[in-house]
């Protein structure tokens, strides 16, 4: 089942945050949404997540959807496995939760209290909580932004692996262009409430550093980040986060 928004507009008072936006996502597609803060990407994600009422606009989103936020948002008063079963319908929720937690390598932390988890563990628990619902649409709202570089690389690998196993459509909101290039099939750059640039990522060439670099630069120049100085492939760019393919 595909997902779409046609002519989607969102206003808060006089402020038009999203104006006449069109977006189609194929089943199982991995889409990254980049843009500067205030460009409307969070508002778009909230609309896709069903957190904001979109009225009677032309929006088609599967009801089987789940969100992973930047902060894991686990309920601190419920044990890890209980957080995963939260709102889970159907039979044997506990067993399904445990299986999901094992899949994100948290099988040893089932009974832990969330506040005792590390940032990476909490985020993996949040991923398990999302995946246990077998969503057709998985929304990731900057889920790696608060993690350290090494944990982030591991999380990238985990997300890709889970995506291949479960095949949900994914919308990853990020401010990190390298992350988008490393993970997504398609990168959408939002500007002033619209999709300004759309880039397809050729997965066959994804591991090609020069290709990656060119893609990154295209996107960064659209974002208004132009840097004349020095080679960038061999020297890690301090403004860009590490991602699996550029771990030189």
């Amino acid at each position: 089942m595909s997902i779409w928004l046609h002519d989607f507009t969102r206003r808060f008072g006089d402020n038009t945050v999203i104006s006449r936006l069109n977006l189609d996502i194929a089943p199982g597609e991995f889409v990254a949404l980049v843009g500067r803060s205030g460009c409307g990407k969070t508002t778009l994600l909230r609309a896709l997540a069903g957190l904001d009422d979109v009225g009677d606009q032309d929006v088609k989103v599967p009801s089987a959807r789940a969100v992973v936020f930047q902060d894991a948002r686990l309920l601190p008063w419920k044990r890890v496995w209980q957080n995963v079963t939260l709102g889970l319908r159907g039979s044997n929720p506990r067993r399904r939760a445990e299986a999901a937690l094992r899949e994100v390598e948290l099988g040893h932390r089932l009974e832990a209290w969330p506040l005792t988890l590390s940032g990476g563990e909490a985020q993996r628990a949040a991923l398990a909580r999302a995946l246990v619902r077998e969503p057709e649409l998985l929304l990731l709202d900057e889920p790696f932004a608060a993690l350290d570089a090494l944990t982030r690389i591991k999380m990238h690998e985990l997300v890709v692996q889970l995506w291949r196993a479960h095949k949900p459509a994914v919308v990853l909101v990020t401010h990190d262009v390298s992350e988008a290039v490393a993970l997504a099939d398609r990168i959408l750059l939002m500007e002033r409430g619209q999709i300004a640039v759309e880039e397809r990522v050729d997965s066959a060439r994804r591991s090609d550093l020069a290709y990656q670099q060119a893609l990154r630069e295209t996107l960064l120049s659209h974002l208004g980040v132009e840097r004349e100085s020095a080679p960038r492939v061999t020297q890690p760019d301090p403004t860009l986060h590490l991602s699996p393919q550029v771990s030189t």
């Binding site: 309920l75 939260l86 709102g87 209290w113």
Partner: protein, 252 residues
């Protein structure tokens, strides 16, 4: 060294000074009875059942007052906290009433309820309603909106959100409110029992005052303090169990 640093040393020293002062007559008996008299009076009052009987009466008043006040406080806070209509209907009158010092109501309560048990229990109930209401209401309204968003994104119904997110999130605030309520209940009890009581700790103190029996007064004061400590311990135990998820408690 460890003896000099022990926290017990100075209280025991003060107690010894008090005893010496009382025995030598520096502290007159009508001002303050000596510690050994207080202890023997305490033992007598316990063995004769006088203390137990009166303590039970006071305890009953606190329990009844708390049961009513806490129930009303929780109910009002749920109504005001969980709906905008409820907030509009409940919050402003409660905020107005709360500015009344509950003890100042005792004349009115005597006019309304006479001088039996009712005004005493009513005073305690009235007093403890507000700390429970204010803390729980604040706790419900202060629940992390991001957690509620997450709960909604997981498809929790409003009812499930209340059960799994709002109420557990407000529980720490409720416990703070209960702690205030318990200490306030003891305070109001002291005053309420001065109203023409014929039994209870306040009655014992009043009677002792009339006969200038300072040792009985001191025994009652110690019992009041003991009640306060007991209630504090009670709340701590409940907190420890109910808030086991808090890291500082987990690490214990």
């Amino acid at each position: 060294m460890s003896f000099a640093r022990s926290r017990w040393v100075s209280p025991l020293l003060l107690l010894a000074l008090w005893e010496v002062g009382a025995v030598t007559g520096v502290i007159p008996r009508r001002t303050l009875a000596s510690p050994h008299e207080v202890i023997s009076t305490f033992a007598e009052m316990v063995s004769s059942g006088e203390l137990g009987r009166n303590l039970l009466v006071s305890f009953g008043r606190i329990a009844a007052g708390l049961a009513i006040g806490v129930t009303v406080g929780i109910a009002l806070a749920l109504v005001a906290g969980l709906s905008r209509e409820g907030e509009a209907a409940v919050d402003s009158p409660v905020q107005m009433l709360r500015s009344l010092p509950s003890l100042a109501l005792s004349p009115l309560f005597i006019v309304w309820f006479g001088i039996g048990e009712t005004p005493k229990i009513a005073l305690i109930a009235f007093g403890v309603t507000f700390p429970v209401y204010l803390n729980l209401y604040g706790g419900i309204r202060g629940v992390d909106k991001r957690l509620l968003d997450a709960a909604r994104s997981l498809g929790l119904t409003r009812r499930e959100q209340i059960m799994h997110v709002i109420l557990p999130g407000a529980l720490p605030s409720l416990l703070v409110g209960l702690r205030y309520a318990l200490s306030l209940a003891v305070l109001v009890l002291v005053v309420a029992e001065q109203i023409n009581a014929s039994q209870g700790l306040g009655y014992l103190i009043n009677e002792a005052r009339d006969f200038m029996r300072t040792e009985v007064i001191v025994v009652c004061l110690v019992v009041y303090a003991g009640l306060g400590l007991l209630f504090d311990k009670l709340i701590r135990t409940v907190e420890h169990r109910a808030l086991a998820w808090r890291p500082q408690l987990v690490e214990d």
